[in-house]
């Protein structure tokens, strides 16, 4: 019985501070193992890395809160970056407008996913798996599989610039998206509806919520955040790269679930997702710094994802006390 008590204390503690502890331990480990970790250059690099996962994690949080999943974010990331650059370079369109169009079309993809999930009752795992393939096809049609170089200096500012001289712009974008996400989830009617639909779809429907509409909008938001991340990534690299984003969905999902968002929906806080994104960003960077073979990186990340999911369900394992 005392054992049971210990477990429940542990669960509460983990839910409160677990990921902070993981973050600190992670930082200590990499700081010890690699002297390059705290170099300013590297910190900037990590910062940008985090920001790509982070931006998309904002949308992913909402998707998971509904009890759905979106694995098409990686394809959207690549598509939106390539489309923006292509429009600028070959269409001669103003960079800003090109970016708006790219995000707009990403959102359209999200809308399609939403329609498949709601109208045709296709599980989101399947629907977004298909969309991932479809969007990837579009990207390769668009680029012929060849990276497109971006020349506009204005465009490069999105990914390479600094604000106040020190803060890389991607980080600023991510923070802005997190703030928006936080406000939407905590202070708007729409946010309440997301939690309600994720909590119990039928009860939400009978409470007068258009549950399908909420779902569709959330898939559009997820596509939008992935699209924005894609543009900023392309700007950062100075190219529209069709092959980026193969592991992206996995990293974003891991960040989100590490933040305590349950895959079953209804439960999770976006601030913790922010920390989750930092953990994944640092992990990716640290593994590279330590010269870990990429194959091993995949294996490590796969296990980290499993760990995250297991911990988000931890109550169900130990605690039947409901």
């Amino acid at each position: 019985m005392t054992k049971k008590k210990d477990i429940s204390t542990f669960i509460t503690a983990y839910q409160k501070f677990g990921i902070l502890v993981i973050l600190i331990v992670e930082i200590i480990i990499f700081a010890i193992l690699s002297d390059k970790f705290f170099a300013t250059n590297n910190l900037m690099l990590v910062g940008r890395q985090i920001s790509f996962f982070g931006m998309s994690a904002v949308g992913m949080t909402m998707v998971l809160l509904l009890g759905e999943i979106d694995i098409s974010v990686g394809s959207i990331l690549a598509f939106s970056g390539c489309l923006a650059v292509k429009l600028m370079e070959e269409g001669g369109i103003n960079p800003f407008i090109a970016c708006v169009i790219a995000v707009g079309i990403s959102v359209l993809f999200g809308f399609l996913t939403g329609v498949f999930v709601t109208r045709f009752q296709i599980p989101s795992l399947i629907a977004t798996l298909a969309m991932q393939q479809i969007i990837k096809g579009c990207t390769y049609l668009l680029t012929g599989g060849i990276p497109i170089r971006a020349s506009s200096e204005g465009f490069k500012f999105f990914g390479q610039g600094f604000v106040f001289g020190v803060v890389p712009t991607p980080i600023l974008f991510m923070i802005a998206l997190f703030i928006i996400g936080f406000v939407v989830l905590h202070s708007t009617c729409f946010g309440r509806r997301i939690y309600a639909v994720g909590g119990n779809n039928e009860a939400a429907r009978l409470s007068g919520i258009k549950t399908n509409k909420v779902r569709i909008i959330v898939f559009m938001i997820s596509a939008a955040t992935a699209g924005i991340a894609g543009i900023i990534m392309a700007s950062r690299m100075g190219t529209g790269q069709p092959s980026v984003g193969t592991d992206f969905a996995m990293d974003v999902l891991t960040a989100t679930v590490l933040g305590g968002v349950m895959l079953t929906g209804g439960k999770g806080k976006i601030l913790n997702v922010f920390i989750g994104a930092i953990i994944i960003g640092i992990l990716t960077n640290g593994l590279v710094l330590l010269d870990v073979l990429e194959y091993w990186q995949w294996i490590v990340k796969g296990f980290v994802f499993l760990f995250a999911v297991a911990m988000s369900n931890i109550e169900l394992f130990f605690n039947k006390d409901k």
Binding site: G199, E202, A203, K322
Partner: protein
């Protein structure tokens, strides 16, 4: 007494987040005895029983079963020791069939394969013995709450338990099914099985129980035999004060008789046929009938929750189409659904969210929720219905059954709708709180709201309604005026007999 103790609790205590919800409770449960456990919502009845069935573990104290003491049980141990429980909240798997649900975790096998034939046969047998007609191949999601309850009971009967706990088994049942259940309980009792019976319906306590234990605020108050106590005394012990009467004085409709708010003409869905009726301003209209007679289906269809095949609905003389609940709410129609777990609550969400979700846009400026208005609204509802809770930010699953029901009520009452459908509004609510809800319904009535009540509790229908419509197999059998209505007349119509 010739009987011996089967199970005894010794100083059982349970603490949730540093709140003591049950404190040092000791009760003896005898073989062959029906022992009632009563108390207000949140008194700790379900908590106590969940410790016996091993669903939760006590903070301290012991459970003694046939002389052997245990510090706590897990569900497997408890089952093995002969404790069976019918939970207040259902634990059925919606996608599985009735018989599969009954055999979850104890599937019969023939070699390496499931012995489906035998499981189906045994499941059928249980229902036959219960005298209930139910296709065991149906999936749970196709069943109404009442049938889910019957499946839960059947599940417990399958176990060969020596003690069976019934936690508010009759809340969703009408008279007929209650009679069936009582017959079953009588039989179990004769076989020497100990029964723990929780209910807020006083009649039932006096009908089948031998002893009654009262809990109040997690404390043991007293145990009495049914002969030495009375209804009034039990209520006083439960709520700690006198309750002048269980029903408020009936309030006559103060509005003109001809002011018709809603008119339904020849409404048809897959479950109801040619339903026509009118709802007047300031009226409480009762819908009566057996389980499955189509009472809930009428209000669900009007509310846009179920698909309508044909028929017209007029509100204030104007024809309206309400395809979704959202349309209905916009037209000022609210429905409190029958099954709170499946249709009423977002269980893992906060009490606050659950209380306000139906009208959150009214607590908002543009897209942003006004936190102060939200807080005020929640506090008002908590006070109005005296919901017992620690914090409104806690998930609603941490509330007792009756208090969850109060939250569902709150979320619909606060919408400000003029036409209110209440499907089993007081399900699981204690005697004291019920009276307050009745008072409140009469207040709504006086404000000119129109209400339809579906209730399996005859006194509720007779005591509250101005008119009563009686259903039988999806058809409307007749209308009774409050002045002429009696239980017999309603039951006659409800069993499909026309004069």
């Amino acid at each position: 007494m010739a009987n011996s103790i089967f199970l005894a609790t010794k100083e059982l205590t349970k603490i949730y987040d540093s709140i003591t919800v049950l404190q040092g409770v000791s009760i003896d449960f005898y073989k062959g005895e029906v022992h009632a456990l009563i108390g207000e919502n949140g008194a700790g009845k379900s908590t106590l029983c969940k410790m016996l069935s091993g669903a939760i573990s006590p903070a301290s104290g012991q459970i003694v079963i046939e002389g052997q003491a245990y510090d706590g049980l897990n569900p497997e141990e408890s089952k093995k020791l002969g404790v069976g429980m019918v939970y207040q909240e259902f634990n059925l798997v919606a996608e599985l069939s009735v018989y599969e649900n009954m055999f979850i975790g104890k599937e019969l096998k023939k070699g390496a394969f499931l012995d489906k034939k035998e499981m189906i046969r045994r499941a059928k047998e249980v229902f036959e013995n219960m005298g209930v007609e139910l296709d065991v191949m149906k999936t749970i999601s196709q069943l109404s709450v009442a049938y889910c309850q019957l499946v839960e009971i059947a599940k417990a009967l399958l176990e060969n338990s020596k003690l069976i706990i019934f936690d508010e088994p009759t809340a969703p049942l009408t008279n007929n099914e209650v009679d069936v259940l009582f017959e079953i309980i009588h039989r179990l009792k004769e076989q020497g099985i100990a029964i723990v019976y929780i209910s807020h319906r006083m009649d039932e306590i006096f009908n089948i129980c031998d002893k009654v234990t009262v809990l109040r605020d997690g404390q043991y108050i007293t145990t009495q035999t049914i002969e030495e106590t009375s209804r009034e005394e039990l209520i006083r012990l439960m709520i700690g004060r006198e309750l002048s009467s269980e029903f408020p004085e009936r309030v006559e409709n103060i509005y003109k008789d001809d002011e018709i708010i809603m008119e339904v003409e020849n409404l048809n869905t897959s479950k109801i046929h040619d339903i026509s009726f009118q709802l007047k301003k300031g009226e409480i209209l009762g819908l009566s009938g057996l389980v499955g007679s189509g009472r809930s289906e009428i209000v669900r269809a009007i509310f846009g929750a179920d698909r309508i095949k044909s028929g017209d609905i007029k509100i204030n003389g104007e024809k309206v189409t309400m395809k979704t609940p959202q349309d209905a709410i916009k037209k000022g129609v609210a429905l409190l659904p029958e099954d709170r777990k499946r249709e009423g609550l977002m269980l893992n969400q906060s009490i606050k969210l659950n209380m306000t979700i139906t009208f959150i846009d009214k607590l908002a400026k543009g897209p942003f929720v006004n936190k102060k208005m939200e807080q005020d609204s929640v506090e008002k509802s908590v006070k109005l219905l005296s919901v017992k809770l620690a914090s409104v930010e806690n998930p609603i699953s941490s509330l007792s059954g009756g208090n969850q029901q109060k939250v569902v009520l709150a979320k619909w009452i606060s919408t400000g709708c003029d036409i209110l459908f209440f499907d089993e509004p007081t399900r699981g609510i204690d005697v004291g709180a019920k009276k307050e809800i009745y008072d409140f319904l009469f207040r709504l009535k006086n404000e000119g709201k129109s209400i339809i009540i579906i209730s399996s509790e005859m006194p509720e229908i007779l005591g509250l309604c101005d008119r009563i419509l009686v259903m039988y197999e999806g058809k409307m059998m007749g209308e009774l005026d409050a002045k002429e209505a009696t239980q017999e007349k309603i039951l006659t119509l409800a069993s499909g007999i026309t004069e």
